[in-house]
Symmetry: C2
Subunit: 129 residues, 2 copies
DNA sequence: CTGGACCTTCCAGTGCAGGGCAAGGTCAAG
DNA sequence: CTTGACCTTGCCCTGCACTGGAAGGTCCAG
């Protein structure tokens, strides 16, 4: 399987695949005599795992760590649990601050709708913000 | 008021102030004979506005647009309303996808807690993700 | 044998919001 | 007179996940 086929199968670009290899996410595949990368089907599984990890909000560096543990022959379960816990805590923080921001913006918006524009004093930049 | 004083008063750094000036967010202040920036108190108001805009999730480029309209002598109200609307829509999207992600992660975590690590097959990278 | 699709490597840039450091000028206190 | 705190400009660096382009090699159909 050449790089273009794998990219198409995984729904990504050849650029991205070479980048992943450089970052240690994809193992360097065999090469044809001409130097072309020659992937086997496990590469696609690996890409699917990377995609699921990204969908879970992990960074490429974190995904790389998990793959490295697995490549070393160990089950990365404990590490993955820690990563998921950390992500959950981060996301709950983000949710809290986004919710607060949403409330603030909503009330700013409501003021902006009910107040007349000409009540803006020249002394302030904008009474809405 | 020199740049260090203004930075301290605004709770930011001199680097940031010079950066804002370069980006058109702060007007270029007068200079002392030695070439030092000499701010008046309106600069602090402007920085407060920038900080409020950032707190509302606007980018510096968007804040700069609002300030530019205001500097041009017009009230930026309509534009600000549009920006706030856009931000609100974006945030609601973010909230939706974060909530979904949170649910997904929570169930992944629960599986990771209840399943034994040794049920991980060697054929998959990690059954948790 | 030629054209076009594909592959290779390397270098550089994107967006956001600054941070770090160098080399030099200025000012007030001791 | 010197020390130290502050100021000036200029240039590159950060993190994240890619993306673009140049210059050249390979493979297959017509």
């Amino acid at each position: 399987m050449r790089i273009g086929e794998l990219a198409a199968a995984a729904g990504t670009s050849t650029k991205t695949l070479r980048f992943y290899e450089e970052q240690g996410l994809l193992l360097a595949p065999d090469r044809t005599p001409a130097g072309y990368r020659n992937y086997d089907s496990t590469a696609l599984d690996r890409l699917d795992f990377i995609r699921r990890g990204q969908a879970a909000g992990l960074t490429l560096a974190q995904i790389q760590q998990v793959l490295e543990i697995r490549d070393g022959g160990q089950a990365p379960c404990g590490h993955v649990r820690d990563l998921l816990d950390q992500r959950l805590a981060d996301i709950e923080d983000q949710l809290r601050s986004l919710t607060a921001l949403c409330d603030t913006l909503t009330s700013l918006r409501d003021e902006a709708t009910t107040l007349h524009p000409d009540t803006c004093g020249p002394d302030q930049v904008c009474r809405y913000v």
